[in-house]
Symmetry: C2
Subunit: 181 residues, 2 copies
DNA sequence: GAGCTCTCCTTGAATTTTTAACTACTCCGA
DNA sequence: TCGGAGTAGTTAAAAATTCAAGGAGAGCTC
């Protein structure tokens, strides 16, 4: 029995009517790759979450939000834009910004052009936290990943992840939204 | 300013009192790889979580717990062992198993050898859910990742992730616990 | 300019995860 | 066999995330 894969189990027939007849399992190698991927990703995210929670008082994703704001024109971004950049839902972002606002690291501002709109703006305090904690965070990322990989591997990883991300971009099937790359 | 990296920014001075001496930023290439990695991982986890929530009524990690139990000797594993396999804390596992127990997919059993111990046991209902939903899940994984990568890339990914996971294994510095590989 | 639809963002509740104890038991040594 | 230290697992509370609505403005059509 294999709930994740294993190519083994017989049958090669090709035509199919309904959704999932005779599933195409993963090969043993692919299964191993997949599990290793899950392990690595889980361990890494966990590691960085703890590192940032300890050193910056916020989870990894919140840190990422501050980084995106810091790199934006007037240290601000529309909520929807920020949500898309960060690959999270608007709901999640609303809650996150509310929390960061309580910390005094972000502030909301109304959008003059669109009364529905809101800008999330990085405050000076927010920028300060970033400056203080960025070195430690980069070091953690480096130690966990880049210091362990060859240049070739880093390049390959980038290409692989680009492909995976591209396939999942909510924009799907190259619809509109040209500004999403 | 770079809160994530960028090797560029000048200044080579070397002496400093506090913890992080002139941080070693990431190169532009590394930064790009890192961000692409984060995007891909976020999108993929999100995608699989929704897929499983929809088709199996549970988040990805819970599904993973059922898979591990299904592959274990008597469809059972000690709580601590399961937690280690799944790379999650015991606390998180306790909550997760409580939930799966409510669904009737897992049941707890006392360990006869150690009165502190508990086994998480996959029930027939749990096994049934797995059998029903595995094909759809594997298909999702395949479509999102394996169908898009060459054999070479799959192999490279496995190796890269193995290295990363190895570096973060809580066992750290090859301490004891030889059974953790 | 009324009505419809869509977009922007928020909100409350439910679910999940984290954090920090805490209970019960095992192990080990004096 | 007493006592201290460590292990297995749970739990309550806080924090974060998901889910399902909902309010309000923008935009379009007729």
């Amino acid at each position: 029995m294999e709930y994740m894969n294993t190519a083994s189990t017989s049958a090669p027939p090709a035509s199919e009517p309904a959704p999932a007849q005779e599933p195409r399992w993963l090969t043993d190698d692919q299964q191993r790759v997949w599990r290793t991927y899950l392990d690595a990703v889980t361990l890494l995210e966990d590691h960085l979450d703890r590192q940032l929670q300890r050193d910056a008082g916020m989870p990894h994703i919140y840190y990422g939000l501050l980084v995106k704001l810091a790199e934006s024109p007037r240290r601000r971004l529309r909520m929807t834009e920020l949500a898309m950049h960060a690959k999270i839902t608007r709901s999640r972002l609303s809650h996150a910004i509310a929390r960061l606002e309580k910390n005094g690291w972000v502030r909301r501002e109304d959008c003059p052009d669109d009364k529905r709109g809101q800008f999330a703006v990085l405050t000076d305090a927010g920028l300060a936290v970033l400056k203080e904690t960025a070195p430690g965070h980069v070091e953690a990322v480096r130690q966990a990943m880049f210091d362990r990989l060859t240049g070739e591997q880093q390049k390959a990883l980038g290409e692989i992840m680009r492909i995976v991300a591209e396939g999942l971009q909510p924009t799907e099937a190259g619809a509109d939204l040209p500004w999403l790359r």
